[in-house]
Assembly symmetry: C2
């Protein structure tokens, strides 16, 4: 395909994309296929010679669309929102054409520099403390990660590296694995599975702190757990005094356990609960515990002054991240992460073979920092273009309007549920998520969800709260309006009516 | 921006992209900016109200382009190629519009299923042994990772998990960190920095095996290193016989070191050398060492029968990966990874909270496997669309022609270098990379490279081979032709002439 054909096919694709999104609600949101459906629809091997473009594009409807869960349908209420906007798509087209791999400043200066400035813009939109902003006298800054999982992992690895160096500075006899075996991290029992996964990857023990009845962790709970662990001989002194006389057995046993990190969540996945970071932060700071804040979904809302108080306490954090690709109209992937001290995160992984060195890197100016020292992959796309396009074409007010509209829609759904005595609301509705259920058994609610899923007209997923099977209704698509919420509720109550008519109930 | 405006702006962007790529060689390949250039060109904060699209697009030329290293210029010869093709860009537009996050089969069945089948197509193009292909009776399969760094890390983590379980199965008294501290992995001294980084992240000691004078690792070198380590009390028995009578000191010291992994490279970054996997594989298999093969750049060439012999020995590997986003015309990011046993890699990280469960997942049919258990991030884009478009619109023959053309261009450059007695070739030219230098001091070559970089007309980066500063000339852009090679060589010899004219030489 040459440039001339790309001009033609590209414009056709633009229309296909616009048609798809304009007419998406005519498609059933959830696909009707069985596992393995696709393999039988296409050949078992790649063609030897080129096929025609017409054949390929025809197969998009024949092969792909039947197996798509339509995340941007206004009837999609599952998981959390995945951001999508036309400005972000335009920026992604440009990103694909530039095709620069931004693993160092020299590999494309614009790529590193725009990212640094866009994370500053975004940090200011959130009113992050100055210490997180790169273009200040502070020592912090931001980076785009692929996902919150990677941000969580990077924060754990940075904390781990810092702890190991601190212990080894006191006593160089301890090996890395000696120290590793003594590190423990805490997070909420409501935290995302990726937090536990980060600990697993990092070889660090992770303990779950119980949440209160609003599904949030409060400081007394973390304190209690730490005290219990301390009583059991764990915490938080790094190196035991050398009172052990049995030199033959000296070594790893001379190290106490040490608390590495507390990973707080603002907007948990099951119910969008908010850990009390304003209480937890000071404790972490006193005890020299790295506090990471994962606000993957809810973080976008902090650009609205009325939601910003929920971020109070971020000043105590060592690192913070949220996903503009969830709720800020920036298409996946774009997870924004800030650290208070760049050196904490860079120090852990700096490696520079000759083919990556360039003459400007030692200039000492903060702008030359290489974001690949902040992340797992070496290669990176020019993702900050998406942020730049979206910020400028929506403006802060446009983005705030988007957040407020979706929160208001959640309130509409909440009122509908509350007005029906057969149902109950299971967690406070703060953002765009409503947790609800039929009063009654888990089985009843499982049956209701099964009917909803099988109908394929709306799509939502469950969660578990206090042992109860709960339905999560998340406002997701940019184009969801009040009428869609009303229609979804009519559909749910109709299925409920049918369910409750059955003799077994 | 509504759909109507997107139709207009999208078509303009298609033309902008085509114009950019058609005229790219008129731009100087390397930018003329100082670190920090960008910040002063744009406001310090995001706008409150939306700006006009015209203003944004104008700023692409004003703000972004001056800071771009043009990776797809035919005069770009740095690093390795980054793939770019129009079919892949079209597929990426579709991917952006669908915007599904494929973290489970249910989250978009087409996303998981097309990926599985495309990795089978690709595996067959490489003539991978059947055990790596998912649609067979084997227990292997493929997955798209973002980068080779992630593939290398995943292989190390899978090997680590397997080793820990194996030791703990024999003696449950050993903690994870006890075992972790006893694991050692090997790789070539020529391996990419990401291999060492994976070990750092995984908390595993990594030792570098010296390479031969063609920069490849041969089996006798690995064997020698393992024997030396064994003599020093390290390897490869997992648990020492319980002959230690001092029960008080029993514990971690009863564990010998254990060799976890050998990470082989096919096509090293400095010189594109090939470790001798056909010799190394049997040793790894005998000693129960996980062999991972990183063929990030060179892997694409194995679709050509004449290069396939270099992959002989892959049958001994536990995992293998290469980057279609380097040399197979599939835009970044798309790193293809295969494992021989799916359970090895899935077992390490399987976590399934309720909101990710769906009714089809326990069907036991291989197609339902969830690729997020194979990778670090949870979210994933619909990247297999790019493979599908590229495979079908180029055909296997078109892709083979691309590889062969670029290798031939490297041979053209090699001949030019060899015909000039002032220069020497520093490593065998097998693929699209030529390592060369001026006969003489490292300083002389550093000066030459500085002149090349400063001229901005062509771009290449150095490497170090046997302590010598060497220039790497990689055939990168899809549109590079023989005329560009000739022009680049004229440019290099002109700069050489000027350099050697200087009194200091």
């Amino acid at each position: 395909m040459d440039a001339a054909e790309f001009r033609r096919r590209g414009k056709e694709m633009v229309d296909y994309v616009a048609d798809y999104l304009e007419n998406i609600e005519k498609r059933l949101v959830y696909p009707d296929v069985e596992p393995g459906y696709l393999r039988s629809l296409i050949p078992t091997e790649a063609p030897l010679e080129p096929e025609s473009y017409e054949d390929v594009i025809k197969d998009v409807e024949r092969v792909i669309m039947p197996g798509i869960t339509h995340w941007h349908s206004p009837y999609f209420f599952a998981y959390f929102s995945a951001a999508s906007s036309y400005p972000a798509m335009l920026a992604d087209m440009l990103c694909g054409a530039l095709g620069c791999i931004g693993f160092s400043w020299a590999a494309s200066p614009a790529c590193t520099e725009l990212e640094t400035v866009m994370l500053d813009w975004l940090g200011k939109m959130l009113q992050l403390p100055e210490c997180f902003i790169a273009g200040t006298h502070g020592s912090g800054g931001g980076v785009i990660q692929g996902t919150a999982s990677e941000a969580t992992l990077m924060s754990l690895l940075a904390a781990r590296c810092k702890a190991i160096r601190r212990v080894q500075a006191t006593n160089s006899n301890y090996s890395e694995s000696d120290v590793l075996g003594k590190l423990v991290a805490y997070t909420s029992e409501q935290a995302h599975s990726s937090v536990e996964r980060a600990a697993l990857i990092g070889g660090v023990m992770m303990k779950q702190v119980p949440a209160d009845n609003s599904y949030a962790v409060r400081v007394d709970m973390l304190k209690k757990m730490m005290e219990e662990d301390k009583a059991a001989g764990l915490i938080p002194f790094y190196v035991r005094q050398h009172t052990n006389q049995n030199k033959a057995c000296q070594g790893v046993d001379d190290l106490y356990m040490c608390v590495l990190q507390f990973c707080a969540t603002l907007g948990t996945t099951p119910s969008c609960a908010f850990d009390r970071i304003v209480e937890l932060g000071p404790l972490c700071n006193e005890e020299n515990i790295w506090m990471h804040i994962d606000a993957a979904y809810a973080g976008s809302a902090f650009i609205c002054p009325e939601f910003r108080p929920l971020l109070n306490g971020v000043e105590f954090a060592d690192s913070f991240n949220f996903n503009p690709h969830k709720w800020l109209l920036v298409n996946f992937d774009c997870s924004a992460m800030w650290v208070k001290k760049r050196t904490d995160i860079i120090g852990a992984f700096k490696m520079e073979p000759l083919y990556l060195k360039h003459e400007n890197q030692e200039s000492g100016r903060s702008i030359t920092f290489t974001h690949t020292h902040w992340q797992i992959p070496l290669g990176r796309r020019f993702r900050s273009l998406k942020l730049w396009f979206v910020f400028r074409l929506y403006g802060l007010q446009g983005l705030q309007a988007h957040i407020r509209k979706q929160v208001a829609l959640a309130k509409v759904f909440e009122s509908l549920v509350r007005a029906d005595k057969r149902f109950e609301i299971c967690a406070e509705v703060i953002m765009g998520l409503v947790c609800f259920r039929l009063k009654g058994s888990n089985e009843l609610n499982q049956n209701l969800l099964k009917r909803i899923t099988d109908s394929r007209e709306i799509h939502l997923v469950p969660c578990q709260l206090s042992g109860r099977f709960v339905l999560r209704f998340a406002i997701c698509a940019r184009t969801t309006e009040s009428s869609h919420i009303q229609q979804a509720w009519r559909h749910i109550t109709q299925l409920t009516f049918e369910l409750l008519q059955e003799p077994s109930h």
